[in-house]
């Protein structure tokens, strides 16, 4: 299955793109997707315990099982206001 990844703020700077696409095995979780990206981009390691996740524009958990076509957003600590 294929998912779209959205990256924001410093996470986007680390990875170098705001959006990318990844092929994942069936049943893959958001956590597995994060680990794939972290293996490719060392700078993400610092965010292991400081990242929020949204699937299809709803807050979710790292344990969430992903489905084909999902949009998965990784969000660093927020600073609105």
């Amino acid at each position: 299955m294929r998912v779209t990844v959205r990256l924001f703020a410093r996470l986007r700077d680390i990875v170098g793109v705001a959006q990318l696409s990844r092929e994942l095995p069936e049943g893959a979780t958001a956590s597995l997707l994060w680990n794939m990206l972290a293996a490719e981009h060392a700078g993400l390691a610092a965010y292991r315990d400081a990242v929020s996740i949204a699937v299809n524009a709803e807050y979710s958990k790292m344990s969430r099982r992903l489905a084909d076509g999902d949009e998965v957003a990784f969000l660093p600590p927020v600073s609105g206001g």
Binding site: F8, R10, A57, Y59, P77
Partner: protein, 164 residues
């Protein structure tokens, strides 16, 4: 069409748009609101000893709108009647420009003040919005709260601040 209750926008914020959106104008329009509290957050010239030149805001826009709706729902759970409008600016803002605008209407002032304060605390905790600060000799992302809308402690903290 009138202004929306909830918005992320690159246009300058106007408090009158939010007041109109919650339907609480002083025009005898049959509203039950006896009070409107508004909040305008501005770009400050100084942060952590740095001379701020401008801020650049970005957002995960569809989630931000859902989060604003969620905050309005939480406000209704706490105070039963207040109506809330919430707009956040995106893009490049100079010092003194408004980054966030909130209006809360309620029958009485205590609830409208509390709802407005609660809303800005929750925006800072869970809205998927980020600011990139440009100061006189550099720039940096500002990272505040790890956004978790189900964190009961954070929500209680916002409620305590609102009622302090």
């Amino acid at each position: 069409m009138g202004a929306p209750l909830f918005a992320v926008t690159r246009d300058p914020l106007r408090l009158e748009d939010l007041i109109q959106a919650i339907g609480a104008q002083a025009d005898g329009g049959g509203t039950t609101a006896g009070a409107v509290t508004t909040f305008l957050g501005l770009v400050r010239s100084e942060n952590l000893g740095r001379q701020v030149v401008r801020l650049e805001y970005e957002s995960y826009e569809p989630l931000a709108i859902k989060v604003f709706e969620r905050i309005a729902g939480e406000v209704r759970e706490h105070w039963s009647t207040p109506r809330l409008a919430l707009h956040h600016r995106l893009g490049s803002l100079r010092v003194g420009e408004a980054s966030v605008a909130i209006a809360a209407a309620a029958p009485h002032r205590a609830e409208s003040f509390a709802a407005c304060r609660y809303a800005i605390e929750r925006v800072k905790q869970i809205a998927p919005i980020w600011k990139h600060e440009y100061f006189d000799d550099g720039h940096t992302w500002i990272e505040g709260a790890l956004a978790d809308p189900d964190d009961r402690g954070a929500r209680e903290d916002a409620y305590k601040r609102a009622c302090a």
